[in-house]
């Protein structure tokens, strides 16, 4: 799919910026962790398109419940870089103003945030608001009973929530094929009487169009959607992990060829003026991260 068929380039700038910023943050955090400035970092490289595609069209009144691997979304929702860094440094469990940014605290017990999103969304509906709630969880978390309970609640109460199941191939070391015998996870939606769809999570354009449908459904009061975003965790589970213990290097190479950032750039390549604008955005993002890093390091007494 190409982008320009349906939208002018300006419409894609936010997505481009968010994707770039997410990737750049990932690299920064990894570097800072290696330098001993952050305690631990859970890499998001490779998952940015699914994350940005499902959230870039949300408004400020909408809400996102992350798991713990969506820094790109946090930044796109306006969370300052330095606040994210404080989280990974072990300074604070929720350094950001979650209400202001519509980005809930990271949630450590996998899957337990899904019910919160359902309750929040149900609340918006009771209020008569047309706000939509997006919640992220993984292929591993999908095995948790609480996720089942939450999706069933959403079906019963018609909560305007979008379940984004990031199927990134692994729960730490366990491949999805051993997490469940079901070849596709979106089929679980039928078990709750809700809509379900599977999408190439490394194709931002495809993800965004699936999300648009889900958003329209939720805003219209027609209930929740489960989006299975098929992607790949290109890094380790966290910086404490060593993925070489459990996966073949060739697999990673395969997925590097499908890198969502590269693919999105390629999709935009034919758009007149893209290169210039992109270079500008790249510079802005880099400057922003540099500033935040300096501030962070000096706050830590390291600059």
């Amino acid at each position: 799919m190409t982008v320009t068929d349906s939208r002018p380039l300006t419409d894609w700038e936010p997505a481009y910026r968010a994707l770039t910023c997410g990737r750049a943050f990932d690299e920064l955090a990894l570097k800072l962790q290696r330098q001993g400035v952050l305690d631990s970092y859970g890499e998001a490289r490779g998952q940015e398109a699914g994350q940005i595609g499902t959230t870039i069209d949300l408004g400020p009144e909408d809400m996102v419940f992350p798991s713990y691997r969506q820094p790109a979304v946090a930044l796109a929702r306006g969370v300052p870089v330095i606040e994210l860094l404080r989280f990974y440094a072990g300074a604070d469990f929720c350094p950001w103003d979650w209400r202001k940014h519509g980005f809930a605290p990271y949630c450590i017990p996998v899957g337990s945030q899904v019910a919160h999103a359902v309750g929040w969304a149900w609340g918006t509906r009771l209020e008569g608001s047309d706000a939509v709630t997006v919640v992220f969880f993984g292929d591993g978390a999908a095995s948790q009973g609480e996720v089942h309970e939450a999706m069933n609640y959403a079906g019963v109460f018609g909560a305007p929530v979008i379940f984004v199941l990031e199927n990134n191939g692994f729960a730490i070391s366990l491949p999805t094929a051993r997490q469940t015998n079901a070849p596709e996870l979106y089929v679980r939606a039928a078990g709750y009487g809700i809509a379900g769809v599977r999408v190439d999570g490394n194709d931002l354009v495809a993800v965004r169009s699936a999300a648009e449908e889900a958003l329209a459904r939720a805003r219209a009061g027609d209930g929740p959607t489960l989006i299975e975003s098929v992607t790949y965790r290109m890094g380790g589970h966290t910086t404490s992990d060593d993925p070489r213990r459990y996966r073949a290097p060739e697999e990673l190479l395969e997925w590097e060829a499908r890198d969502p950032v590269i693919r999105f750039r390629a999709a935009l390549a034919g758009v007149p003026g893209f290169e210039d604008r992109a270079a500008e955005i790249d510079r802005e993002v880099a400057a922003d991260l540099d500033r935040a890093t300096d501030e962070f390091l000096s706050e830590r007494g390291m600059a």
Binding site: F93, C94, W98, A104, P105, I108, P109, S112, V114, A115, H116, A117, V118, G119, W120, A121, W122, G123, T124, L126, E127, G145, E146, E149, A150, N152, Y153, V156
Partner: protein
Amino acid sequence: MTKTAPRSRTGFTMADGIQRALDTALGEDPRTLVMGEDVGRLGGVFRITAGLRDKYGEHRVIDSPLAEAGLVGTGIGLALRGFRPIIEIQFDGFIFPALNQICTHVSRMPLRVKDEGLLPMTIRLPTGGRIRASELHSESPETYFAHSPDLRVVSASTADTAGALLLAAIRSDEPFVYLEPKRLYRRYRVEPEQEVAEVDPGRARLLREGGDALLVVYGPMVDIGLQAAEAAAAEGIETAVLDLVSLAPLDEATVLEQAARSGRVVVAAESIRRCSISSDVVTLLATEGFGSLRCAPRLLTSPNRPYPPAHEEDEHLPSVADITQAIKEVAA
């Protein structure tokens, strides 16, 4: 005190008091919701919510699917959004599926985001035994809550105060667990004019004066304890009876002050002994009130075994006679 008074034909029960408190809460704040299994059309298995759905509608008195983690978890989401959910868990023994939500979120999320008033929710839970119920319907799970930090845990005990205590919990912006000794739902009646209008949910309550010993109890042990105190009085021993009301945090000042009067203390509860609220009362006395103790405190609980089948429950739980005997021993 009307606890052991003969039953009256007029007046109201603890169940009535709780129900009226729910009605008041729903009436005074449109953000209040009542949620739980069978609480709507059926009115709850104990009929505590009977009539509320008809009065407030199915969007405010909500029949939930049969899933306690989902119930508490969605309650958290609603509370985050600004609603004030009052969640009924059907029986004490069915709280366990919700413990992940309670222990990792209800108890931690306010501090996580540094906002004490983040989760204005109340979890109502029928507890306690001596009702010849089947397995897992007679538990005393207060420790699981009390050991989860920053949760406030209170227990109803008498008809005259149960409603006001619940209202205080509901109106608070902190998350509360409110325990309802189910054996007492309809056991005693008090006259309307006896109803207590306001209860401080953090304060223990002295139910009986007495200079020879102090008996510390809560929840389903309160009426039993008062009976024991009367039995001891018949033998000339005057026992003060303190109802903890707040199990977490403990009203430490009142416990210490009352214990100091006689220096002779009995603590009794239905729960098992290990890691119990009652054990904490003894610890408080031993660490902070050591100088005022005139003998070893006595602790009466059920043994560290699972709650038994109905045929054996009377032996499992501390009885009026057991407590009376312990009072006599400390006062000797």
